[in-house]
Each structure stands twice: as structure tokens, then as C-alpha cells.
């Protein structure tokens, strides 16, 4: 033991210096350790500790992507492409209808064009032909399971990408956007001041569609009775400026989507010179501009509905062909609404609607209170335990207290080094660690006392105490770590923080309560001088 004394002192010194560097990095080391600037805003805590959303305030959102809707939308698109392809070949179509999420029932006007229809349908590679009934001129197109799962994967990836774009444009420092499970997206936005607005921005599907209004039908009557085949009933929300009453105006539009937001090149906010109302002007890419030009040319004097997420925003009359590929979306926006709409249009639509499955929003003032309380309870618990050890074990207790201090230092430094997140339950984990870290010393000290009572010399008692207690110490550490690991696996956000600080603290106590304490005992009692008594 004595031989390695200098080596052991060196290890302890290295750990202390290393911890301090990780917690308070000198300016020239900081970029090496943490890349860019660390994010902590703890005030009393070192800057290098990442604070959880419950401590610094912010939004934690779990969004579920409605993947069935994504499949449905894809199948609907396939329906119109089959229809177009059949019509191009001169095959009469009686009916094409979606059945369930992933199937299309196709009925031909007559069975004569059967083989042409089969060829046309075969062009859809993601679909297979089922239940062919040549006599009736009827068959089913079903999307292949492999293609469905591919589409779903793509939808999740696209959703992640879109939300990331929107958040980036909204301007949040250090956002975190991750996939969780098969169809969930976890969004964490620290320090957001206006959570409602951020949520609306992230959760909006933002599917922009251009559809023609069916002028032949009276919308009021269609709303009461029935909507003709190939048409649908959509509403425009109008808010009366004086009474603030919301009114829904029905429109009958053709189901067929002529153009979508996918063909947009840009979207920005402009102010109307006359009304000084903000609106969003959009610009199509070259393909979109061409399609928009053709569409406006073919439908002069008809009304074109601009539909966002199934709500009509405006339905202007097409005066003439618009070759420039520019359009305006008006509809009584506030300037904030217009800004956010421009952001979501630029970032693109979500592949399917999303739903908030879980939300945790903490205001910044509550977070600051929590930090204060957390720091005070850590200090108070530390004081009680330190005093207790000092009174009960005297000099040995003091050594255990030093070990406890070292433990907390390592715990915080490890959190900084691993870029782990400190949460409010994480602070509770630190407080609990204070109580548990000295347990190891108690086990060792009680053992030493026992050996002394059995008549051993001071040195022999210390030796026996450490070596005999060691196995027990390992056992007790393993059981706490087992539950810590399970908690970590299971936990979400804050609770994970509890598991993290508990596990690091417990693991560090092996070093501090055994290695470090032993070193101090050796330095004090293993010298050439003979010791008659041990202060324990």
C-alpha cells in the first residue's frame, strides 16, 4: 500500500484538477471541451452545467404524427393519377374510391377497355392489383405493405426535417428535435417566452392547396343538403371586427387539388398599401409557376380558393393569366400570424397532421425559483450530514466529509463532461446522493470500530475494515445502480435527470468513500509512528 502512495496522491489530484477544469474551463480550454458556448443559465451554478427545461423554463412537446393520414393522402394522390392516366388512354371511369387507408376501388365505365386499364394501373409501382372482376370492369389497387412502411418512415423523417426548419426560422437557442419510437417526435425548446405561439407554429400541418370553386352549386344549400360528386364543402372563418364574433362561410370547391405548397419557392410578409393589413405573398418555383400560369389561363373569371389545412383563406377571382408565379394569401391576419404563416410555408408542410401527445411547459420564473430551492436544500442536507458525521466519527468523520465534498465535485463535473442535463428531480438525486455517499464510509468505519473492539491494532483494524467492508460496499452499489439504470431507461426528461445524478453520485462514491478515504487514512495512520488510538 505504502509503495503506491505517490501514485494514489497523483490520481486524486488529477481527478480534482480535471473536475475543476470541466466545471470552470479556462477560456482557452472551453472550445475543446464544449464546442461552442455552454448553455447553463443557473446563476449560482457553473455555466457548464446543462439545465433541464424545468429549471430554465421552456417547452417539452411530444408530437404524434398521424401516419395513417399520410398513407391516405398518398393513396388519394394515386387515385387522381390513375384517373388522369385512364382518361388519357380514353378509358371511361365510373368511380374511383378509397377503401380503408391503403386501397382504391376502381370501377370502369365498361369492361371493354379492361386490358388497357390494367396496363395503366400497372404503372403505379407501389400498388398491386387485387380482386380483379373483368365482367364488372372492377378491380382494387392496394398499396404494398413494404411501400406503406417506407412511406411511413419517410413521413416521420420529413416531419422531423420540417419541424427543424420551422424551429430554426423561429429562432430558438439550442432546440432539440428527436424521433421517439415509431411515430413520435420529441421537441424541446428551452427558454421560449411565448409557448402558445411556438406550439402553433410547430403543430400546424400547413398544407397549402389551390382549388377551383364550383360556381354551379349554391354553398348554403349544399351545406344543408348534399355536395355533388367530385366536390367538397369547405369553410372560411371570418371574424367580425366590431363584435369579435366568428362566422363560418361555406364554399363548394372541386375536390381536385390543382397546386400545392410543395411548389413554392418563397413566402414572405408584405403590407397592403391601402388597408395597411399584412398579407403573405408567395412565389412558385419554375415548375409551379408554369402550372400556375396554365391554371390561371384556363380559368379566367373563375374563383380560385386558397386552402390552408382545410380552411379557405381567400377565394379571389382570376382576372387574367398570371405568368409571374406570384400569389397573395390574404385573410385578416395580425402581423404575428402573417409572419408565422410565412415561416411554415417556407419550411414546407408536414407530411401528415400531428397531435400533441404530451406537453410540459415551465415559465422562466418558476424555473428560477426551483433552482434557488434546489440549491438551498442541497446545502442544508449537506450541512446536516456533515455535522452528523463530524460528531459521530470525529476525525474520521471529517475525512468522510472531505470525501463527500469530493463526491459532489466529481458528480457536477461528470454531469458537465457528459453534457447531462440537470433537472429538478436531478437536484433531488444530488441531495439523496449526499445521504447515500457517506453510507459507504459508515459501513467501513463501523467495521473498523468492530475490529478495534476485537483488540486489533490501529493499522490492522484499518486494513481489515477496508478490505472486509469492500465486498459489502460493492453489493450495495450494484443494487442501487440496477434500479438507477431501469429508471434511466424508463424515465422521461426530468425523471431521467434523477436517475443520472443518482447513478453518477453512487458510482463516484466508490472512488471517494473507498479510494480517497483509504488514502487519507494511510497518510495519517500508516506512517512509521506508532498510533495508540484512532479518532473514529
Amino acid at each position: 500500500m505504502r509503495r503506491n502512495l505517490w501514485l494514489r496522491i497523483g490520481i486524486v489530484a488529477a481527478v480534482i484538477v480535471g473536475s475543476l477544469i470541466y466545471l470552470y474551463p479556462p477560456p482557452f480550454v472551453r472550445p475543446l471541451l464544449y464546442g461552442h458556448a455552454a448553455t447553463g443559465k443557473g446563476g449560482l451554478l457553473p455555466q457548464t452545467i446543462n439545465l433541464g427545461l424545468d429549471l430554465q423554463g421552456g417547452i417539452h412537446l411530444v408530437l404524434g404524427i398521424d401516419l395513417d393520414k399520410a398513407v391516405e393522402a398518398q393513396v388519394e394522390r394515386a387515385a387522381s393519377s390513375v384517373r388522369a392516366s385512364l382518361e388519357k388512354r380514353g378509358v371511361g371511369v365510373k368511380r374511383i374510391e378509397r377503401r380503408g387507408a391503403a386501397e382504391l376501388v376502381v370501377e370502369l365505365a365498361s369492361a371493354q377497355a379492361w386490358s388497357t386499364a390494367q396496363t395503366a394501373a400497372g404503372e403505379l409501382t407501389a400498388f398491386e392489383i387485387k380482386e380483379p372482376d373483368q365482367a364488372a370492369g372492377r378491380f382494387v389497387l392496394a398499396m404494398r405493405p413494404k411501400d406503406i412502411s417506407q412511406l411511413k418512415e419517410l413521413a416521420v423523417r420529413q416531419g422531423l426535417e420540417t419541424i427543424r426548419n420551422r424551429v430554426d426560422q423561429f429562432g430558438v437557442a439550442e432546440p432539440s428535435i428527436q424521433q421517439q419510437g415509431d411515430n413520435r417526435i420529441l421537441v424541446q425548446l428551452p427558454g421560449v417566452q411565448d409557448p402558445e405561439r411556438a406550439k402553433a407554429l410547430i403543430g400546424k400541418t400547413a398544407l397549402l392547396e389551390f382549388k377551383l370553386i364550383d360556381e354551379k352549386v349554391d354553398p348554403e344549400r349544399a351545406a344543408r343538403e348534399s355536395v355533388p360528386d367530385g366536390d367538397e364543402l369547405l369553410y372560411q372563418k371570418r371574424v367580425d371586427r366590431e363584435t369579435k364574433q366568428e362566422r363560418k362561410v361555406p364554399y363548394v370547391v372541386q375536390k381536385k387539388t390543382l397546386l400545392t405548397g410543395a411548389d413554392l419557392a418563397n413566402a414572405r410578409v408584405s403590407i397592403d398599401q391601402n388597408t395597411s393589413e399584412p398579407y403573405v405573398s408567395v412565389e412558385f418555383n419554375s415548375a409551379g409557376a408554369r402550372a400556375f400560369g396554365e391554371l390561371t389561363e384556363a380559368n379566367v373569371n373563375r374563383r380560385l380558393a386558397i386552402v390552408l389545412d382545410g380552411n379557405i383563406h381567400s377565394a379571389p377571382v382570376i382576372r387574367e393569366r398570371i405568368p409571374s408565379g406570384q400569389a397573395q394569401i390574404t385573410g385578416g391576419f395580425t402581423s404575428e400570424e402573417a409572419t408565422d404563416l410565412a415561416i411554415v410555408l417556407r419550411a414546407g408542410a408536414l407530411p401528415a397532421p400531428v397531435q400533441v401527445l404530451e406537453e410540459r411547459t415551465v415559465g422562466p420564473s418558476l424555473g428560477a425559483d426551483s433552482i434557488q430551492r434546489g440549491i438551498w436544500s442541497t446545502l442544508a442536507a449537506g450541512a446536516v450530514v456533515v455535522l452528523f458525521m463530524l460528531i459521530y466519527y470525529r476525525v474520521s468523520g471529517l475525512i468522510a466529509d472531505l470525501a463527500l465534498g469530493l463526491n459532489l465535485l466529481i458528480l457536477l463535473a461528470a454531469m458537465a463532461a457528459f453534457q447531462a442535463t440537470l433537472t429538478l428531480p436531478g437536484i433531488a438525486g444530488i441531495v439523496l446522493t449526499i445521504g447515500m455517499a457517506v453510507d459507504t464510509n459508515i459501513l467501513i468505519f463501523e467495521r473498523i470500530r468492530e475490529e478495534l473492539r476485537a483488540g486489533k491494532t490501529v493499522r490492522a483494524a484499518i486494513d481489515a475494515g477496508f478490505s472486509r467492508a469492500f465486498k459489502t460496499v460493492i453489493d450495495t452499489h450494484v443494487t442501487v445502480l440496477v434500479s438507477g439504470l431501469i429508471l434511466f431507461q424508463f424515465g422521461t426528461g426530468p425523471v431521467k435527470g434523477f436517475a443520472v445524478s443518482l447513478m453518477i453520485g453512487i458510482a463516484a462514491s466508490l472512488f471517494t468513500a473507498v479510494f480517497f478515504t483509504r488514502l487519507v487514512f494511510d497518510l495519517l495512520y500508516m506512517g512509521s509512528r506508532k498510533h495508540e488510538a484512532l479518532s473514529i
Binding site: 430551492r373 446536516v384 441531495v431 439523496l432 445521504g435 453510507d439 468492530e450 450495495t476
Partner: protein, 312 residues
């Protein structure tokens, strides 16, 4: 030298029946209280729903908030003062409306009563039905897996008997914690689950210390003739100061956390505190006693067949 116990020699194992009675009585009282209250209360983490924490500019009576909220029909909402007479928690059951709409409705309703002053919304938590169900399943899974892990570890380090007895002691501790929660009207939330899992890992520690001692004493030999019950009792007594002292330091920490940690951590600290106390109790009175019970039962069974043969 300060010493908690001087050569303790209490007859813990001899009085184990009383301990069983006490434990069963407390757990039954707890279960009774749960039954009367319609089961353990679940927080929104598990049941789903919306929680809104608001702070008013000045103290406000609960009834006024209730009246204000009665206007918007949001179902059985719970309104609780939260650590400060200005601060309240509103807990709303799952709605058909989205979180945004619910929050806006609550804001609107509170704003209508001008005397309340504009409250600051400090925290909004929403857990949808799917997430709540997932968390329930995961919670049960986590508790079972950690118990299984500990059972395996003890069975591997000591023996199956010790493993099973430890797990029964753990189940006892968890039941006592749940009983205490029901009696003090606390609800099951994620932090409380974290506390329970920690207790599962921690309360077995003292048991390990005691089992270790049994094995060590046996290794020394010499006392082979000593009955098993006495071996266990001696080990518990010899490790008694360790068991109590280690629990004491953790107890100090959790009590401090309960007193100063703030309202959000109160339930977590409460369960940890109860768990540390019952964990120590179960080490002294339950875990060892069950191994004795089992051993004596096996020994009894080994004797019994002879009797049967004799009768035949």
C-alpha cells in the same frame, strides 16, 4: 466514542410474529383507505389530463377560482393551493379540446373575474391518453424488472431463499409507501415512481449487509450447532448500528428535501422518507425473519414424511 448501540442483543426474530402483525395491519389500513377513496390517485402523468400552475398577484381564496372555472364546463377539476397562498394548481381531466384551447379557456375564465387580478401561468403540463397508458405499462414493467434484477443478484451472491425474502421485503416496503401515500392523500406521479424505484434499490442494501454477516459468521465455523434463527438474529444485531446509521444519513437528506425542496419535490421526498424508514424496519424484522420461516418450514417438511410413514 459515541455509539448508538452497545453490544445489542435484541430478540428480533423471536418477536417476528408481532412485526408481521404490525406490517399487515398498516398495509391493510392503507388498502382500506385506498378502497374508500376509490383506488390510489393517479397524477396526470398516468391518468392523462392537463395541469396548470398559476400565480396571482395577491392571495386568492380557492372558492373564487372554482366559481370562475365553473363557467367553462371542464369536468371534475381539482384546485389546490401550491405552497403559497397566491399559487394554485388546476388539474383538469382529459378533454376533447386541445391543450391550447383548454389553456386559453382557463385564462379567459380567470380574466373574467377582475378581482382575481391577472394570473401568471407558470407551468402547463398535458399528458394525452396514449402517453398516460404507455407510462402506466412502463411503470409496472420498470418495477417488476428492477425487482427481478435484485432477486437474481441476491440469488447469485447468496441464495435463492435470501433473494426471495429480499424481494418480499421490497414488496412490503412498496406497499407501505403506497399505504402512506393514500393516507396522506398524495398521488402517483413520475417523480413518486422514481422514488419507489430508488427505494427498491436502496432498501435491500441493509439486508445485504445482514446476509453478508450471516455468511461470515458461518465461515468462522465453531458455532455450527447454533440454530438458524439464532444465526440470523445475531447477524441482525451485529449489523444493527450500521443498518440504522446508514439509514439515518439518508433520512436526514430526504427530510431536508421534504422541508426545503419545494412543493414540486414534496411527494418524491415524502415517499423516499417513508421508504427509508420502512426499508430499515423490513431489514430488521422482515427480510431475515422470512428466511428463518422458510428454513424452518423446509426442515419441518423433512421431518414430516417420517411421521406419515410411521402412521402408515
Amino acid at each position: 466514542m459515541i455509539q448508538l448501540f452497545h453490544n445489542p442483543n435484541y430478540n428480533f426474530i423471536g418477536r417476528r410474529r408481532w412485526a408481521y402483525l404490525l406490517s399487515i395491519a398498516f398495509i391493510l389500513v392503507g388498502l382500506g383507505s385506498m378502497a374508500m377513496k376509490g383506488g390510489l390517485r393517479y397524477g396526470i402523468d398516468f391518468s392523462g389530463g392537463t395541469l396548470i400552475q398559476v400565480r396571482f398577484e395577491k392571495p386568492v381564496p380557492v372558492e373564487r377560482i372554482r366559481t370562475a372555472l365553473d363557467g367553462i364546463k371542464l369536468g371534475e377539476s381539482v384546485i389546490q393551493e401550491f405552497g403559497d397562498p397566491r399559487e394554485f394548481i388546476l388539474r383538469l381531466p382529459l378533454q376533447n379540446a386541445s391543450v391550447e384551447e383548454v389553456t386559453a379557456q382557463v385564462r379567459g375564465a380567470l380574466a373574467k373575474d377582475a378581482t382575481l387580478g391577472a394570473p401568471e401561468v407558470r407551468r402547463v403540463e398535458f399528458v394525452g391518453p396514449q402517453v398516460g397508458r404507455d407510462l402506466q405499462l412502463q411503470a409496472i414493467y420498470a418495477v417488476l424488472v428492477s425487482m427481478a434484477g435484485i432477486l437474481l443478484y441476491i440469488a447469485f451472491r447468496f441464495d435463492v431463499k435470501g433473494g426471495v425474502a429480499s424481494v418480499v421485503a421490497i414488496i412490503h416496503d412498496v406497499l407501505v409507501c403506497l399505504a402512506a401515500m393514500s393516507l396522506t392523500d398524495r398521488e402517483m406521479s413520475l417523480p413518486v415512481l422514481a422514488a419507489l424505484l430508488t427505494i427498491i434499490g436502496y432498501s435491500v442494501n441493509d439486508t445485504i449487509v445482514a446476509y453478508d454477516r450471516v455468511r461470515e459468521n458461518r465461515g468462522k465455523g465453531g458455532r455450527r450447532a447454533e440454530p438458524f434463527a439464532q444465526q440470523i438474529n445475531r447477524a441482525i444485531n451485529e449489523t444493527l448500528s450500521r443498518t440504522v446509521l446508514t439509514a439515518l444519513t439518508v433520512f436526514f437528506s430526504t427530510v431536508v428535501l421534504y422541508l426545503f425542496g419545494g412543493k414540486v419535490l414534496e411527494d418524491l421526498a415524502f415517499v423516499l422518507t417513508v421508504g427509508v424508514v420502512t426499508g430499515t424496519y423490513s431489514t430488521i424484522f422482515i427480510a431475515g425473519a422470512l428466511v428463518v420461516e422458510w428454513t424452518e418450514w423446509v426442515e419441518g417438511k423433512m421431518r414430516r414424511p417420517k411421521k406419515v410413514i410411521a402412521k402408515a
